[in-house]
Amino acid sequence: MSETEKRKQYKLNVGKIEEGFVIDHIHPGRAMKIYNDLGLDKLDCSVAIITNAFSMKMGKKDMIKVEMPLREYDLDTIAFLDHRATVDIIKDGEIIERPHLELPKTITNVIKCHNPRCITSIEQELDHVFYLTDPERGTYRCKYCETEWVNQNTRK
């Protein structure tokens, strides 16, 4: 089967969105995690999740289309969960911007510190803040106890 035929066969008919954003080139199987961590389940707008779509570049990929303007802090969360994904910002049905994603220097309340000796384990109102300490390995450290957290989502 030729590439064109393959694309035709796997093409999904999800309508164009007028205003919102598309997260594309998500590592296959990771879309639901991004959906949950961005809190998209709590929104009252159209959200399309496409998993295992055909990709020339990746073989398979996931995609999420959201009919709502992108909140700035969402970019950090997306980058942290899959920094090789791409984001297209759509207005009037057209792509107006494709912001560059890179591992955020600080990540707040996305992951939790699991060190039982960390102050966050007993003081519930504290934010769980992690700093990026090694961008190559995707290593983050807890702001309070410096416990290491290796980002398994980092893809070479």
Partner: protein, 307 residues
């Protein structure tokens, strides 16, 4: 702006030199500093028991003419009522001019410092940081050796969990031509974030061995540590490793006549009492240096200079 000390690396090498110069001057002329903190109060907020560190802080403040207040266990503080560290420090800030905090939870002093209007000194937070112990170790070495560079430093015992060892390594790598020899059983070797991320990445010379006798003659400093029972989940492992190294007269005969033995204390069996009178055993002198360096730290953070 209020400055707190949470990690030994909060001071640059130059600032550390100034701190130790001040400690030296206090040792030379304590009378000059006896009233520098008249009317000032140190709050010792100790959420877990500690003998040496708390007494050292209190002695330091008293010798500067100041006074101390505080609590010595979480049971005697509002923590039992559910008060947060942030609220406790806000309250303590109303009563005291400076605070020393020990807490079993790592990062608690950082939380306190972020809400405090007075300087906060981390007096030990779990297995994380204990900066005044590191300052104590550095002042002891500098005072007795005369320098912190060009030294071969042996560290022996629990190198895996020992926070004093990790902090001291981080502080010492900033000095020129410092070599390390790490002596430990394989179960208690240095963690990779010190070995790989700090030493190898910065091209610091080091060796890892298991037998103390083999390396003793080459050392300028031997830093002994206790194998801490509370760090083990398995009693069997603790029993097997706790007496792995015992420094005694026989071993001391192998060491150079100038080698110094340091220990953060308390010791259990790792240093035999038979070497306590050896002039190279300086771990009780080290305690005294600890008080002097805390005096210097209190003065520095309160920005007080003798008249």
């Amino acid at each position: 702006m209020v400055r707190s000390i949470l990690s030994p690396l909060d001071f640059s090498v130059e600032e550390l030199d100034q701190l130790m110069d001040l400690a030296d001057d206090i040792i030379r002329d304590p009378a000059k500093y006896a009233h520098t903190c008249d009317g000032r109060i140190l709050a010792t907020l100790f959420y877990e028991p500690s003998t040496r560190t708390r007494l050292s802080f209190e002695a330091a403040m008293l010798r500067l003419g100041g006074k101390c207040l505080g609590f010595h266990s979480a049971d005697s503080s509002s923590a039992t009522k559910g008060e947060t560290v942030a609220d406790t420090i806000r309250v303590a800030s109303c009563f005291a001019d400076i605070a020393a905090m020990r807490h079993p939870k790592e990062g608690a002093p950082l939380v306190a410092a972020s809400k405090s209007t007075i300087p906060v000194i981390n007096a030990g937070d779990g297995g994380h940081q204990h900066p005044t112990q590191t300052f104590t170790d550095l002042l002891t070495i500098r005072s007795l050796k005369g320098h912190l560079d060009n030294l071969t430093i042996g560290m022996c015992g629990d190198l895996k969990f020992g926070r004093t060892v990790h902090s001291l390594i981080r502080a010492l790598v900033r000095y020129a031509n410092v070599k390390f020899v790490f002596i430990s059983p394989k179960e208690l070797k240095l963690p990779s974030y010190i070995r790989d991320d700090l030493l190898i990445q910065n091209n610091i010379a080091f060796r890892e061995v298991t037998k103390l006798e083999d390396v003793l003659p080459s050392l300028d400093i031997l830093y002994m540590t206790r194998v801490q029972k509370e760090r083990f989940f398995n009693e069997e492992d603790y029993v097997r490793l706790k007496d792995f190294y015992i420094l005694d007269k026989k071993k001391m005969n192998l060491a150079s006549p100038d080698m110094l033995v340091l220990h953060p204390l308390p010791r259990v069996n790792e240093i035999s009492t038979e070497i306590d009178d050896d002039p190279r055993a300086v771990y009780f002198k080290q305690v005294k240096y600890g008080m002097y360096v805390r005096m210097a730290l209190i003065l520095t953070l309160l920005n007080i200079k003798p008249e």
